[in-house]
Symmetry: C2
Subunit: 692 residues, 2 copies
């Protein structure tokens, strides 16, 4: 339980210092400046007092219990200090100092050392090499951190390994005049993890929205599980950086990790129900809306404005993000026509005109809150000198505080002149933005979370018809080359999972191949199989569309001449008639499961990169989304009067592939390419499996 870490009653600082510009001094100053409600114990054997507080020579000599100890001492002294804390009965240590695993093997050894000691005493370590935590709860007011942004109490909590980005986000809220709740930046995170903190924030009733930033995930499976549970109840907004090769390299250089462009994090975000962002500014703005507004029940927005152009921009952004602008109902239109100026534009957007009064704004907001055609309300508000803007602001606050439907406000003003307007809206908790696009994107994020929370969960079918034991046995026996399984092993495994494969046989020579082809029916494909052969087609080991016995014989004899491989056999398979080529694949993702891929085959995958991904276990709903997620989905549905293909069969295939790789985690990579889809059914024409 991290409660004592985030809600400490007494904090000690080992390495407390009298030097103004040192971290050991700053943390004490911050605790005092922020009005910490508990006791602060500077620990310094050489000082009597620091910043007017009595200093103690050792943690052991502190009076009373200590919930959180900061360590601001050289790395080499940390293990002994942890030992002392253990003796004192301390349960949480924030190690601000660096010099551990981020610096190399020597530091890593120290980290391992203190961590073992901490475990002995049941101590949880936050950090090392970290900023620390802040809790702005008026009952706590713990600024256990050496940074400089003093937040007002609020409902947004921030968690990230990266102190730099967490602080930038923190400053973003501060600049907007929006309060925050808990702030946690845990650097190396050798013990207390991000998922653990997110879990804690999920239970913290003062946190309405959780904001996080990642450059990669340490323990993706754990992250996935925790975040999924929390996100179902409370919005989690996240951003991942290190998306480009260069960005990943920059991330590796500052975390000491491996440079890796990963796709899995995005898929985890999606599957876990995280509202993800590509831009930190958008993330900040969205969090501001989540902090005070209810979640909309749909995507239908009403726009109220007192100026034209900004409403056009807002409309573009809202519609571009998938929101709709329903027309006003007759009743609403009639209601507003009675109340607004005759020249006002009564529609959606409704333009009350620059001369529009507080009563006009209120009438519009009331009408849209009442009208079932709207799920949320967007307010554009420029402050002309000739109207009573303070009253308009008060009405917006009043409606926002009803918490009926979410409202965001694009406030277009000079904040130095219209200080009362700004103050009224800010104190009233109205999410205010300075640009129509920013306000619109914040509103769109609320709608996005609604869609996530209400999405069809689907199910992972149990597939009682699969024969996992046979597949496992085939896999165990399969001595492939460079991990690649022989075609027959591949087909046996697919067969065991009832994944439809074109009929096949294995033949030792030309005569057997002809016999096999006769049994299968022409045309057939013949592939050369031998432990030494990997890239069959490059070596002339594949012959397609063989229409008769003579072609088969001549193909096999040709391969025998050309390849001269030991243990050469021939895989004879039905050559499937023309249909729509699609591809399916799976790839193991460390610490997580597999990524399953689906896309259009042939030139579409190569040139148009028209593929979509998901994580195992894929649900029925997710498989359906994958089919409709490709750009060329019209090809699945049928175009130019052609019939579409059997999407049910493709969905089943995706689900069976997901089941197969979930059951057989030793599969590193699997490619079904192509799968030929028909009006009825879909068959694997060629497949590869590589094991670890």
């Amino acid at each position: 339980m991290l409660d004592a870490l985030f809600r400490p009653k007494a904090v000690a600082v080992i390495g407390a210092s009298s030097k103004e510009l040192s971290i050991g001094n700053r943390i004490i100053k911050n605790l005092m400046d922020f009005g910490f409600k508990g006791a602060v114990y500077p620990i310094n054997p050489k000082a009597d007092e620091i910043r007017g507080l009595k200093a103690y020579p050792s943690i052991l000599e502190c009076p009373g219990e200590v919930d959180v100890v900061h360590m601001v001492i050289p790395a080499k002294f940390v293990p002994q200090a942890v030992e002392d804390c253990g003796k004192k009965g301390v349960k949480h240590i924030i190690i601000n100092s660096g010099g551990f695993s981020e610096t190399g093997p020597e530091g890593a050894a120290i980290e391992k050392d203190f961590l073992e000691r901490a475990k002995t005493y049941g101590i949880r370590i936050f950090g090392p090499n970290c900023q620390g935590i802040i809790n702005s709860d008026p009952e706590i007011r713990a600024y256990c951190n050496f940074t400089f942004t003093m937040p007002n109490p609020g409902y947004i909590s921030i968690v990230a390994l990266s102190g730099g980005v967490a602080e930038v986000i923190h400053q973003g809220f501060s600049e907007m005049g929006v309060g925050t709740r808990i702030y946690a930046s845990n650097g190396n995170a050798c013990d207390v993890t991000i998922p653990e903190i997110i879990q804690y924030l999920g239970q913290d009733s003062g946190t309405r929205v959780i904001v996080t930033y990642v450059e990669g995930l340490r323990d993706p499976a754990n992250f996935m599980q925790t975040v999924r549970e929390v996100a179902a109840k409370k919005p989690i907004l996240a951003m991942k950086a290190g998306r480009t090769k260069e960005g990943a390299k920059a991330a590796a250089s500052h975390t000491g990790g491996m440079a890796k462009e990963d796709m899995a994090t995005d898929l985890i975000f999606k599957k876990a129900g995280v509202v993800d962002f590509r831009d930190e500014g958008e993330l900040i703005q969205a969090a501001v809306a989540f902090a005070s507004q209810p979640i909309p029940r749909g995507n239908r927005v009403g726009i109220i404005t007192n100026t034209g152009g900004p409403a056009v921009i807002a409309t573009d952004v809202l519609v571009g993000a998938g929101l709709t602008l329903p027309p006003l109902s007759e009743k609403t239109a009639a209601f507003l026509k009675e109340r607004l100026y005759p020249e006002a534009s009564v529609g959606n957007p409704v333009d009350v005109l620059a001369t529009g009064t507080a009563a006009h704004y209120r009438a519009c907001m009331d009408a849209m809150m009442e009208d079932d055609a709207f799920d949320c309300v967007f307010v554009n508000f420029v402050t002309p000198f000739f109207v009573d803007n303070e009253s308009i602001a008060k009405e917006i606050v009043a409606v926002s505080q009803q918490q009926k439907k979410p409202i965001v406000c694009n406030l277009m003003t000079d904040r130095r002149q219209w200080t009362d307007v700004v103050r009224i809206l800010q104190e009233g908790g109205v999410p205010c933005f300075s640009l129509p696009g920013a306000a619109a994107r914040a509103m769109a994020a609320l709608v996005r979370y609604h869609a996530i929370r209400n999405r069809e969960p689907g199910e992972v079918p149990p597939f009682v018809d699969v024969d996992a034991r046979t597949a496992r046995e085939v896999l165990k026996k399969a001595a492939g080359t460079e991990g690649f399984l022989a075609s027959e092993a591949v087909c046996e495994i697919l067969g065991a999972y009832r994944i439809p494969v074109a009929p096949w046989r294995v033949a030792a020579d030309a005569q057997a191949a002809v016999k096999a082809a006769d049994a299968i029916g022409y045309p057939v494909v013949v592939k050369a199989e031998a432990p030494s052969i990997i890239h069959k087609s490059d070596m002339g080991g594949v012959a397609l569309d063989l229409g008769d016995a003579e072609s088969v014989r001549s193909a096999v004899e040709g391969m025998q001449r050309r390849l001269q491989a030991e243990n050469l056999r021939f895989f004879v398979q039905k050559y499937l008639p023309k249909g729509l080529e699609v591809i399916l694949g799976a790839k193991a993702e460390e610490g997580l499961g597999h990524i399953v891929m689906f896309g259009l085959g042939g030139i579409y995958v190569e040139i148009m990169k028209d593929v979509v991904f998901n994580l195992t276990p894929v649900t029925t709903a997710e498989a359906g989304e994958m089919l409709s997620g490709i750009k060329g989905k019209a090809l699945l549905e049928g175009v130019r009067g052609q019939a579409g293909v059997d999407q049910k069969a493709l969905q089943d295939l995706i689900l069976r592939v997901s089941k197969l790789v979930s059951d057989l985690p030793e599969i590193e990579e699997m490619d079904l390419n192509p799968v030929i889809a028909y009006e009825t059914g879909a068959f694997v024409a060629d497949a590869r499996i590589r094991i670890k």
Copy 2:
């Protein structure tokens, strides 16, 4: 010449008022508050003085010359007031009042009336229904506007019809502490146009960057020509809204224009060399960078940081926008290793660490300014309490003021605490942003303008081999159905422009058709032609791939039976062998010329929408860009060991289509679909032309 409008020496306000909350009072207040350097004459027959200034009963009684007259009077009084201004010799009138063409025919008539009178006297009208202008030039300080944002003098000028958006942008600069120069929002713009103002700003030496917002273009050809000339010398940053159907509708409702989603504006921006934006925030941030920084000579950026995560975000955004991060040269690396902390990360990004000093920052900036591997420098700067941040700020200012290479700064601080740092950077003209993504996008915009200004202009080939006269004659004679020309007329016109078409003949009956086919060579296509037939293929009027005389005969006879049309003829054409199907098209754009389209044919255009557009006259460089602009360009270049197609021939085709529609503006629409491209050559297989 608009000089007296933007640099007035005396301003009169007809409709000046003593009432505090009236526009006629506010304009006078604004002029006085802003420190206008000239004379202000309130005009009001019922007042002796307004805001302490002597009021005059009529413009005719003003002492001395008046450069600019504001009119803040009901619409119906405007024509007479214009007449009076004419008599007084006034040359510029800003009509702030509304009630003109934006309200309907009655108002439009008044607008026409006063405009005619103005022309008689050589008066230029700014507006009506507009905010007005501001010029912050210390010699002028004209705030001829009723809004409330008082700018500091700067180098950014803003021009837009929409007062709402112009003001939002204006506030954006003000909030960032960045000055602006000229502000012009001309509402209905019945006389002085946006292009005219842009031209003026192009010549204004105090304007370094021009910012504009449009919802549509009144006179696209004029806009194009003016903006192109100006953008070659000075950056023009623009945003267009009304991009969605709903946004276009919202735009129409507030401008009284037609709802229209246009593509032409984007193409004009591109062709004219405008730096275009989809987000007003990005536009504002970019302008801040342009206002003080030189244009980079390339896209190679060096990043300096004192914190890890934000550099990762910046890297992602910069690389995503097409910039590159070259490694440090050995010399630069050695230079920095000597000067930075041993633990600093000497690479690109270079991380000086949170403890990095002003000397460290300076060394990095100097090295990157010196090193030819870099075109621009990105600085991440968080302000830890334990370093001398003011000195770091001063070094950034010093390097920025060298104006060697552009520099932008992501300043991560609490602006209320680090006021000196903020002031030093702001006064030093360093473009500062609060988020790494925002700073990176501003830098990317500088690079984008560099690329625009240095792009290959190409040329519009004269094509002396085309026979425009024949084409014009064919067009004149062509009595098409619903504007569609007969196939033979289409082929004749294409032939006149040396656009290669599959060989063709016209036949009256089956016997003639067979004769034609014999002459052309099999296989052929036969199409039924008659004035009453438009959608040939739907009516069974097209037969493809006819391999012999018998097939031709039977196809023709079948059509004769089925169609029973008057004047039925048969268009016989060579059936082209398989190649890569592409499409080419052109569509007239009102007031502009034509939009030319190129894309992949068949299902690529239908499903993947893989098409690109450009405006006539298309240059050689633009035609080349069109070829490389499609997503499936690899198909043109050749994939899977297949040879590519004749891109030279396709480029030539695009240029000839551009020439053709430019010469024959009565062509409303032209479709060459498909064009079959081969390793050598490309031939039109089917074509349609529709005239007005």
